[in-house]
Amino acid sequence: MIASYHPTLSEYLAHNPGVEGHGPWPRVHLVTDTWLALISRLPLSRWDLLAEWADGDKVMAAIRDDSDGAVAVLSLTTQDGRFPSLSHGWPSASRLERTIADLSGLTADSLGDTRPWLDHGTWPVQHPLGAATAHKPGALPLPYAFLPVDSEGTHQIPVGPVHAGIIEPGHFRFTCFGEAVVRLEDRLGYTHKGTETLMAGADLERAARLAGRISGDSTVAYALAFARAVEAATGTVIPPRAHWVRAVMAEMERIANHFGDIGAICNDVAFSLMHAHCGWLRERVLQAAAACFGHRLMMDRVVPGGVSCDLDDAGTQRLRDLVRQLRPRFEELVTLYDSTPSLQSRMLTAGVVQPEWVRQWGTGGFVGRATGRSFDARRSPGYEPYSQLDFTVPVRNEGDVNARVMIRIDEVHQSLSLIERLLQAMPPGPIHTAIVSADAPNSGNRHGEGVALVEGFRGDVFVSVRLNANGTIARCHLRDPSWFQWPLLMAAIKDCVVADFPLCNKSFNCSYSGPDL
């Protein structure tokens, strides 16, 4: 049998000229026929959906070709507010298109699931990013039609939105047969703050603050993705040192979150010793962040044009000492983790994610990498300064809770080593350059639209911005990695016992605020 030839994304788009002023990757405006032809190719391709959102009367889709890492943004002008759904090729498009319907009022034709997603019927406005018509909310949120389970002897357990621990709000509807989970469905949107609407018309400083508060645990990653998208949109070249300071912060954020979560996962199987020790390690990273950058979570430190604070000699020394102290301590904990059968017995084979799901959903982060998908945005498409640093992307194939923990352990080791090398080779010089808006005299600014893909601790954060001529935000879309991780958690918990849910959930640690926007 001769395998049929499938073009890469770049080859496929080669005959379609990109739209002017979009960087760093092309935006290609398609007609409906080409959009439909693209959908028909999806089942055969290795193209992953990075994001799908609406901008005015256009629907946009960012796509990455997994075979060569090429990224492109496709756009289509909707007809009477309708567009052909991408959900048949990419199941991940379903919730994105439901969100587009809620926020912008554009509807995807032949979308199977048309239940509202973020809109719980409590907003005083409908389609806030579209026509924004006034709406009188009811006294209570609208009821939600959970997916049915047709079987005798099952019972339901509703959980949330207010949970038992100190965590974000969301609703989980378990349908169980005895202790076994037959179906789990999540309903999110409780933390929807209308951030993208607030961004429209905001100046860059305010928009950057908002971007840094999409998901607080990934504030550096979001601020970085936003800044890179703005820099791409304005053709700004930032000083080299800024890239390196940004990377130090990004790796510290990664380590702090991994420490916290490794401890919390062990705590969920009643091994609180790991939790106590990991909590202390996390605290040390945050205290060092406060000492070096003036904020424990490093909020508002990455800004468009560079960074807002430099790393001085004392800070550099402090971080070197930190890495030196953390390494042996963490090593002891890894040994403890590896040699404790009670931990292993709960974590091995729990919450298995299938490789097929990861591929279909284009799932990134440690969830993807624990199931054989090696995608890491620092490596592909890659960005400064990682393109100058040699590092491997840890990948495992088991897809269970243990694999996700092991990936994070490997990433801690690697980030510690990255921080050392970043401190070693950090170039001197300025840390910020001004962003010049298009209407400034002699700005030479050809752009206006930019996108960025950045690897946060949880996975790839995608940001798209379109700027007004005066430099304010016209439209900004931010896509959290959890969009493509939540549905896999729901699938992975099937047939597990209810008691394994907290463990599996923690091993994913998806963001609520990130996808709720």
Partner: protein, 176 residues
Amino acid sequence: MLKLLLGSLLRRPPTLRTPVADPSAQEALERRLETRERPCLGRSLAIRQVDAGSCNGCELEIHALNNVVYDLERFGIRFVASPRHADALLVTGPVTTNMREALKRTYDATPDPKWVVAVGDCAVDGGVFRGSYAVTDGVANTIPVDLHLPGCPPAPEPLLSGLLALLEAGAEKTRD
């Protein structure tokens, strides 16, 4: 074992020294006590945390209160899993319209006498999200608030000082 004992003698404990109760929080609580009759809390405080739409930054720092450095429980303050077990609600986030009903019900489920602490700039007045169609600009617009602890997010130490002030306020009332 010997190594461990020796290590414990030589190493300082990681725990932070007891911070002083936040004076401005104490003042605010005293004013609050003048306007509302509040029975005492005694020397212990059970807290139910409610995220009413935060970015999760506040949760990270509230979590940190439980770590070995801040060790909240040594002061008799602990987090509980249900509002029915709680003396106080610790509410974060600007209160999204989607969370408003859940917050109200959580408040109603908390037995009297109850205290409400709004944590973080968002919980105070909506913070950066103020004015959005999807938020209600702070906790006080949905349930009565006794104490505001601002910050974006507030670091664990000021959080701890604020909670100690709440504990003191309750205890002082006992002596009256």
